[in-house]
Amino acid sequence: MDHVLVFDGATGTMLQAQGLPPGYCPDLWCLERPDAVAWVHRQYIEAGAQIIETNTFGATPIRLSHYGLQEKVREINIAAVRIAREAAAGRALVAASMGPLGALVEPLGDFPFDRAYAEFAAQAKALAEAGPDFIIIETIADLNELRAALLACRDHAPGIRRIAQITIDPTGRAFTGTDPETAALVLQSLGADVIGFNCSVGPDVLVSAVEKMARVARVPISAQPNAGLPLLQLDGTTTFPMGPAEFAAYGPKLVAAGASYVGGCCGTTPEHIRQLRAAVEGLRPRTAPGPLSQVLGLASRTQSLFFVDQNLPVAIGERINPTGRKLLTKDIKEGTFALVRKEAKQQVAAGAAVLDVNVGVPLIDEAAAMAKAVQVVQDTVPVPLCIDSADAAVLEAGLKAYVGKPLVNSFSLEEGRAERVLPMVKRYGAAVLGLTIDENGLPSSAKQRFEIAKRLVAAAESYGIPRWDVVIDPLALTAGAQQAQAAETLKAIRLIREELGCRMSLGISNISFGLPNRHFLNAVYLNMAMTAGLDMAIMNPNDERMMDTIRATRLFLNRDVNAREYMAVVGPKRLVHTEDEVLAKAEKAAGTAASAGKAAAPVTVSPAAQSGAPADPLGARLYSAILEGDKDGIMPLIEQGLAEGRAAMDMLNRYLIPAIEEVGRLFGEGTYFLPQLMLSAGAMKKAFARLKPELQKAKAGSAEIGTIVLATVQGDIHDIGKNIVAVLLENYGFKVIDLGRDVKNEVVVEEARKAGADLVGLSALMTTTMPQMKKVIEMFAAQGTDIPVLVGGAATTRAFAQQIGAAGYGRDAQEAVALALRLLEARKAAAQV
């Protein structure tokens, strides 16, 4: 693209200005008031819009059925495109709008995926007849709904270019958790010709989102923001704060961030578009591809994994596979999937970056089981999946159920396999693992494997699957039976990687079959394979030696910067290495606790607990207990640690504080809700209370890091927010003097003075009592006291805090704690100077 193209703005409000009655179907005006619809288009074209959107935002059967118009899908869509074409008269391109269904698609909601697909397909068929320049799928926040719409458009309107726009909120993610990079990766893999954002937020929020998307995008990016964040009025209407000039000023910023198409959504008018067009006139879109646009990437609904050197090598967890496992077979056969869920959690907690899912149980409906397993696993853990089956129909069931970009395991050049697997890989936008097997089976030499790999890549490319989405597995054979093959596989890794540039994978455990000390052999071979260029290993991540081998390799390859991961995970270990040893040690530890009369509570590891968990078994259990908010289970662990002679300060700094910090992070990103935060805070408080006398005994410095006086201000009777802050501050080692609620200003000042407080925190719910905060600050100033005062509460804002001279403002409890820690550090640093 040479030039930035400008879309039109809001349609609904323009139609209302033309007399669209309240409660009336806007799309129906394509039939009843084509003059009014055309007038809207002309307004935008005359303002400078180069692409106009048809009045079909709600023209799917389900949306039209709200007005009893479900039979008019075809008629309305065709009329809408014709009206837009005529209004454009060659001056603008026409994009047919396809909006959300108004129902949450499975698995988040209960609207079936197939039905969502059928709804979009009905509209796409009509649009295919009408022939717009684009179909623009917009204002959808659920990645799965976007998938349904894109697939329907690909199938039923194949010649028409597709724009897929996701809606994000002010946190920079869709409310369903999808981030811009993940949206880009998934949508372009599914065949979107343009990807981007519209609605919900203003251009200010979209600038950074577009920047993130541009790192991944290999197709153009569009951005159609609202005129700022909408403000709901009391009569049910919505207003938008951003005028045309302010809105247009963001145009060049969006283009600089990577957008090639810009326009407006709710709250924008022809004047917004006129000024936007002027602002971007002459600007050229960025043409350089993003650094992650042509590399292998896998994604779940909420996160992406890019296979760039810095992130490699990684482990693909192989444990969700019923082969030779009776209990897992039973779990899958009976449709319980409790063990599947448990395996998923354990593997991710152990450090797996991707999980392989295989449900190969004889005599079951394997396709249905795969769909269910994929749903269960993606509901349990956030990492991307690898869908594994020898049966193409089972692979397709998994692909359809998966919301993200998975890896398909696998295809080869055996008769018919590539032809069955590759079309569905392309259709669902997946990456694929190719095994170096052809019609004659597995060759013996590295050179032959390389030749097959070339054909695998060519086969994938012939279906439109890019080379970087093809991973090659040169297959490890059993060294006990074919010893010379072990070296050939390593040679093949080196050769294929260097010559074809593909990412390389290997199932490791087969190498040691039939030999003693398999864990040891597997780890050594893994190290050799990684040195040869292996990027990912399909393996048991619960095998600590294997995982530590990866961590050590990452350290030596300078990918684990400053050895942070190694020091955190492997550093504290007394080199325990086999799974059996770990289990034995864990049992011994549990036995110790039980013998003390306090049975250790079962500790389950949260799906969110990933690489941050320590590998020292006791440390890992302390960490997990905080993460899980297990206040009953944590005390036996603390006692065990003390009995083993561990220093209280060491347990606090190494396991407990990192765990509560992780809890804060999970709460901040929405993975945890408030009760989970408070469960963890409760467990932390108990642990800290037990360690406190030990810290004092050991004279390991003060047990508390500082003193803070908290109060709900004079006249305010609400204190639950302040109470939450108090507990969290204690978790981080603050001595908290909680003066309660409705506390007179003089009392706050006097108590702070008496306690020698480092900080004061004040809470107020309503505007009627917020002035008390200012009075307290003035009283401190009058006394010449420089104690920093933090403020918070429902009606307070950062601007208010600045205005009254407060040291800071906490939007929520977690932010208040972070602020308190920063202020305390600054205060201590100033005191030292």
Partner: protein, 236 residues
């Protein structure tokens, strides 16, 4: 026109309670927040405790109104409200129900006790359930009025402190709505006591007056779980 006060005391178990609303108050985000079974149990336990601790009561008064641009004059001497938001809401209105609703002090006390006992998570759930329950109580009052009043349209409940309606008007409104009769009072700083209480007005709109029929936004949308529903934004 003024009508005598009506006091309703629905059973706590009859109050409509939206569990998803409780979760939203607690920061739950569909598709993002991971809940284990025990967290669901905790939420259910908190809701059950809140329902058991609630003693819901609603007092309903009435007064006629004259709506001008930016102000609402009432038929009660000395009672006038200056608010553009309120006047827009009540445009075409002939009167308002004055509403005072409370769940009583039990939930406040329960949440405080749980906090003191270091049952922090349960305390936050009880608090959130109380907030959802009091909304349910307001819906009860609205439904009751809807049954009683024929031929008029009712506005949603709206109270001082929201939009540009001065929170200080709450003091007189509580008295006129009969708050003290159900144990609902305000502090000088306009905080209602007990905390799980609501005060406001429900407008009576005459036939032919303005009817609030949303053409866009959350009321029309079927996505009850939508994040934006909570925040009040519209899409599309």
């Amino acid at each position: 026109m003024r009508l005598p006060l009506t006091v309703l005391r629905p059973a706590p178990t009859e109050l409509p309670l939206d569990r998803q609303e409780v979760l939203r108050y607690l920061g739950y985000r569909p598709g993002v927040t991971h809940l284990a079974d025990r967290h669901d149990v905790l939420v259910d336990q908190g809701i059950a405790l809140a329902v058991a601790a609630a003693a819901p009561a609603v007092s309903l008064g009435y007064c006629g109104i004259i709506v001008n641009d930016g102000e609402v004059l009432t038929r009660v001497p000395g009672l006038m409200w200056r608010s553009r938001a309120l006047s827009r809401l009540l445009r075409g209105g002939v009167g308002v129900s004055l509403v005072a609703a409370t769940l009583g002090p039990g939930i406040d006390a329960l949440a405080a006790r749980l906090f003191a006992e270091e049952e922090y998570a349960l305390a936050t759930v009880v608090d959130a359930a109380g907030s959802a329950l009091v909304q349910g109580l307001a819906r009860c009052a609205h439904a009751y009025l809807h049954e009683q009043i024929q031929g008029l349209t009712l506005t949603p409940l709206f109270g001082p402190g929201y939009g540009d309606w001065d929170v200080h008007d709450q003091l007189a409104l509580v008295a006129e709505a009969g708050g003290p009769a159900i144990g609902l009072t305000t502090t000088e700083t306009c905080y209602v006591q007990p905390q799980k209480s609501l005060v406001g007005v429900i407008g009576w709109i005459a036939p032919g007056g303005r009817r609030r029929v949303p053409t866009t936004g959350c009321d029309l949308c079927q996505m009850k779980e939508c994040h934006y529903r909570h925040r009040g934004a519209e899409t599309g």
